[in-house]
Subunit: 414 residues, 2 copies
Amino acid sequence: MPMTPDARVDLDRFWSTIEASADIGKGRPGGLSRLTLGDDDRDMRDLFCTWCRDAGLRVEVDAAGNIFGQRDGTDNDLPPILIGSHLDTQINGGRFDGIAGVLAGLEVLRCLNDLGHVTRRPVVVVDWTNEEGARFSPPMVASGCFVGKYDIDWVHDLIADDGAGFGDELERIGYKGTRPCKAGEIDAYFELHIEQGPILHAEGRAVGIVTGGYPVRGMRASFQGQTSHTGPTPMDLRRNALAAGARWLTAIDDLGWDFAVHDGKATAARLTAWPNKPGILSESAEAICDVRHPDPVTTRVMAERMRRAVFESAARCGCDAVIEDEWEWGGDIFDHTLIESLRTQAIRMGYNWRDIDSQAGHDAYFLATHCPTAMIFAPCKNGITHNNEESCDPSDFVAGLNILLHAVVARADR
Amino acid sequence: MPMTPDARVDLDRFWSTIEASADIGKGRPGGLSRLTLGDDDRDMRDLFCTWCRDAGLRVEVDAAGNIFGQRDGTDNDLPPILIGSHLDTQINGGRFDGIAGVLAGLEVLRCLNDLGHVTRRPVVVVDWTNEEGARFSPPMVASGCFVGKYDIDWVHDLIADDGAGFGDELERIGYKGTRPCKAGEIDAYFELHIEQGPILHAEGRAVGIVTGGYPVRGMRASFQGQTSHTGPTPMDLRRNALAAGARWLTAIDDLGWDFAVHDGKATAARLTAWPNKPGILSESAEAICDVRHPDPVTTRVMAERMRRAVFESAARCGCDAVIEDEWEWGGDIFDHTLIESLRTQAIRMGYNWRDIDSQAGHDAYFLATHCPTAMIFAPCKNGITHNNEESCDPSDFVAGLNILLHAVVARADR
């Protein structure tokens, strides 16, 4: 049975899944603390798999713990459409970040069941493991592995701050799947996500069509000094790695302010040191920072200053420094045909929409290196996110869900 | 039998105790990692108590785990002389810091046994618990408690970074003594310590007579921000507590350089933050810094700038700040009569000595608030300390030990 243009998702049903999810791994009031591959993540995965099977989907889990729920099409030899996001949260996370995207995919497929509409191509809802990077670094590691950016053995060997291994935890919670973590041909990838910024809410928009992502460049640097006594050691003989790390973080925060007028941002995200104790200068420190700016050239300039600041900070404290790791993502990565199809649906259904850039990282960035990809943003109150006060109303998802439904079906049926 | 002016300690016996101690809680090559109240600290305490009992000393342990080995005098109603230091080390500590002072006290008493000399007043060798503060903060907590600076219940409730409680660990290793941790009347306190600075070694001196301590002022500050996403959150809406803490540490390092020309020092010692993860701005941070300068007025100026920097750093990052704790020690705290008695012995025995200021904190600082106190410094190679490369030869202790012996006996017999 063909889907008619006035078909709409069941908002109450979607919202009930958001509420059920909000009961698993509760954090601070109103929020979630559902770290990847923990017991709460397992419980949420179990519930999600049950929902998928109840909806008649074929559930598969790959070697990185990514969960795929496939609704067959009339021609299953054609590459599928994927709709995905992530069910894990930050340690002080909200109820919508990532979660809304996975449950939106489920709602689209449940809606197709209601309508009795079988698409030409198969449509698959996906939960990507460890998007947040709140327990295992780097973030988005499983979607990265899926598109060939990371090797599965390297992913399994990742160690959390709490000492747990990625592969061991996958096995422990029963989600080390047999399907290889390797993307085949994919027709298109869609991801709905909350904006995580204040723009849509401030402008009273119902939905954002994501045209690209702020170019982001990050690095992890280590500083090497020498322990000695904090008392008698003269300033010019000190090699305090903690002070070197602190100088780098300060330089990065300054860098963000230097470029803030055109919406540049720089983040001093993490600093650890050893021994990090009173009475003794620290021998080693490690820090993670990143920069982002809407203009890719400016992002490159900021990244160059971030890099220079590593060595300037180290030198100022008599320390050595090494850039251990670097990464970048973002830019104009989304597919113009898909973007246009989303805009078309927004206009047809009369939603108050706008084009918007993503400023955060998303699994969609990795998928975009592999297949045509697009994202839809739902508004969230004041842009607060990665915080238990992250807040959305059901109405914030109406436009996004229905645009997703019609864009996916149009793509899957072509 | 009266002690003759040519009496000397047994250097080989002293050195053999240093070497036996260097086998307990080995750290990096040549060093020790004997954190207070751990199993290695217990083993060292057990050995020390055995040595004391073998030397005929009466061993008592107080409620803070301080160990006292008393050699009776002819009039035990008179206030005793104490000789002490500490047997715990930093996590990457050396073999001499603190240890040499306790074992020097033991050697003095063994020497008196050899000589058959009974002093008029009792003489007591002391091991103070947790001088380093490497496991439980603050440092010198048990000598501080002994002189009434800290309450014993507060000390017992201290929690280490590893989660252990001070009182629980005392009980576990069998050193929660029955003697109250409270100083009675004390005639004098002597402490021998390695210099922990380069001066004596550079000048080829055999010994330093400590006339005072660099005034030191330290503080622990906390910064309160808000978690949010590192991507979309504009710079002016960020409340990144980690960045605030890093700014404070940077300001403190700058402060040290500003005063370095007259031997001022400022130390960025410790910084922790939560969640301290990529992808999320940190909600809270805590940091410890201190300043020291030979001139007390300048130290006060530096401390005032350190305090101001807390709130400036917080404000720059939209955070709130609280100074949780402040401390100060040092100044001209040692007893002029005792200092003069040490000088007299150095001159009489022909040692190449000099007056010197202490730049580190010592248990002697707390004892000085309670009774006449003096310190003797032994040279250490290049002033390297709080590092496994801390290094002394037996000859570095000849002058210090013999000055200690004669000064203690002169005081005890008067």
